[in-house]
Amino acid sequence: MSAALALTWRQYRLERRMFWRNPSAAFFNFVLPLLFLALFGAIFAGSQEDLDVIVPGIAGMSIMTTTFVALAMNLVFLREQGVLKRLRGTPLPSGAYLAGLAAHAVTNTAIQLSIVVGAGALLFGVGLPEDWFMLAVFVAAGVASLASLGVALSHAIPNFDSAPAYVNAIFLPVIVLSGVFYDADAAPTFLRDIAQALPLTHLIDGLSAAMVTGASFADHLDDLAVLLIWGALGTVLAVRGFSWEARRG
């Protein structure tokens, strides 16, 4: 067990080191959500009501970029390049490899969230989170479900050239529908119905309660349940379809 942990730790450190050397990955994972936060923060400056929506919204978006988007893009690239196939031929246990990769994604999530929460408190008058425990639970559930869905999506993407199209075709509508930029409750009914099915909507609801409104955890157990259902579905699809090799032809 300790040997597997040591391998996970080594894989994690390699992933961290390589991450900062790759400017496009760093941009997608870090700069984009923070840019959105700055822009919308400026647009909504003076309207605390709007800022209270945008800060947890961007926090939810950050979780999605650092897990769902990053893992889907990464895995398609590594699969197409043959890195996964090469690793498969070594004694490195698959579990240790995937755990290292996941820990790397979670670190990005944690860094990003700290920045968003910090900026929310210092710059946008949102204040520090009302309920740290609830925040932690929702972040963990969000990471688990969006990361597994990202891995599952990577199976559906045929090659790296088409990866941005696939990922953005999901990511962009989802962040708009789920109320990253506005209060989802204010949207027309049919959009609200779609949004109710999406995990990010419920993640943002939970984050909003924990960070801003201070609504009780008990009122948001249904949000947690939806996230966990998506997580279970994502995990099944991620494990079943996992492929270490690029498709032939």
Binding site: R21, R86, T90, L92
Partner: protein
């Protein structure tokens, strides 16, 4: 391995391949593209499930990819990328951590000829350097058996020579090497024994020199005749033929220009064997 079969749907990529590789030898699977070489090797490496047949690699069935086997085997795939944002040194050190008794990182860097590029990001390595890194990553676990799938395809001559040197160094370390190639000179230069593969079957197995000797045409003698034309004759009795030729030349009082005696190369055998198959009626 005995009677290996592998089918993809209705395509029988490998239909009954048998061979045994002896510990410490360099064994080559030689054949044209699409002969089933890679399929065969990937079954041995544990990447593909066989359709039927018995396969044993270092006493293990590779089908279940046992970790105990992966620890003793090094694999150089036909083509495979590597993390683009890490250096050869970092990658070799990282790979070393996968194995219970790895070789020294410095030693592997030297053995693979990566000293000059050890700090270059992998994305900036040339094709030849990237191949050296492939060798280094396959070697660092100190494997007993190394698989090399077309180790020099697409290389310029200098890079090929360098790769050959590395493969010879492996053999000198006492490693067992199983390589595939469609280059005859490569098989001849590196392999202790060669199996010629075509259409998923083995046509012949033996030492490169033996395969030449065993062929129907044994010696080839060529010379320039009185008219100045280059003449070639194949014979089982080169001594007799040479005696005839030289005495006739002496009697005429002329020399024998461009006289040469050669044994058929692996290439001749290969072409002969693969042509025979082509002439058979389609099954």
């Amino acid at each position: 391995m005995r009677d290996l079969h592998k089918s993809y749907g209705n395509v029988h990529a490998v239909q009954g391949i048998d061979f045994e590789v002896v510990r410490g030898e360099v064994f080559g699977l030689l054949g044209p593209n699409g002969a089933g070489k890679t399929t065969t090797v990937e079954v041995l490496e544990g990447y593909r499930e066989r359709t039927r047949g018995i396969v044993s690699v270092l006493g293990h069935d590779p089908g279940g990819r046992p970790r105990a086997l992966r620890e003793r085997v090094g694999i150089v795939l036909q083509s495979s990328g590597i993390y683009r944002h890490a250096t050869p040194r970092e990658l070799i050190a990282h790979w070393a951590g996968f194995y219970p008794a790895p070789r020294d990182v410095e030693e592997v860097i030297d053995l693979a000829g990566l000293r000059e590029s050890e700090h270059v990001l992998a994305r900036r390595l040339s094709g030849g350097q990237a191949r050296r890194l492939d060798f280094a990553l396959a070697l660092v676990g100190d494997p007993e058996l190394v698989f090399l799938d077309e180790p020099t395809t697409g290389f310029d001559p200098a890079a090929r020579r360098a790769a050959w040197e590395t493969i010879r160094a492996l053999a000198e370390l006492g490693k067992t090497v199983l390589l595939t190639t469609h280059y005859l000179d490569e098989a001849q230069a590196l392999c202790d024994r060669v199996a010629i593969v075509k259409d998923g079957r083995i046509l012949a197995v033996g030492a490169p020199a033996q395969l030449g000797v065993g062929a129907s045409s044994r010696y080839r003698v060529s010379w320039r005749d009185e008219a100045g034309e280059l003449a070639t004759r194949e014979t089982d009795d080169p001594t007799g033929l040479l005696h005839q030729l030289t005495s006739a030349a002496l009697a005429r009082g002329t020399g024998l220009e461009d006289l040469s005696v050669s044994r058929p190369s692996l290439e001749d055998v290969y072409l002969e064997l693969t042509a025979e198959i082509d002439e058979e009626p389609t099954r």
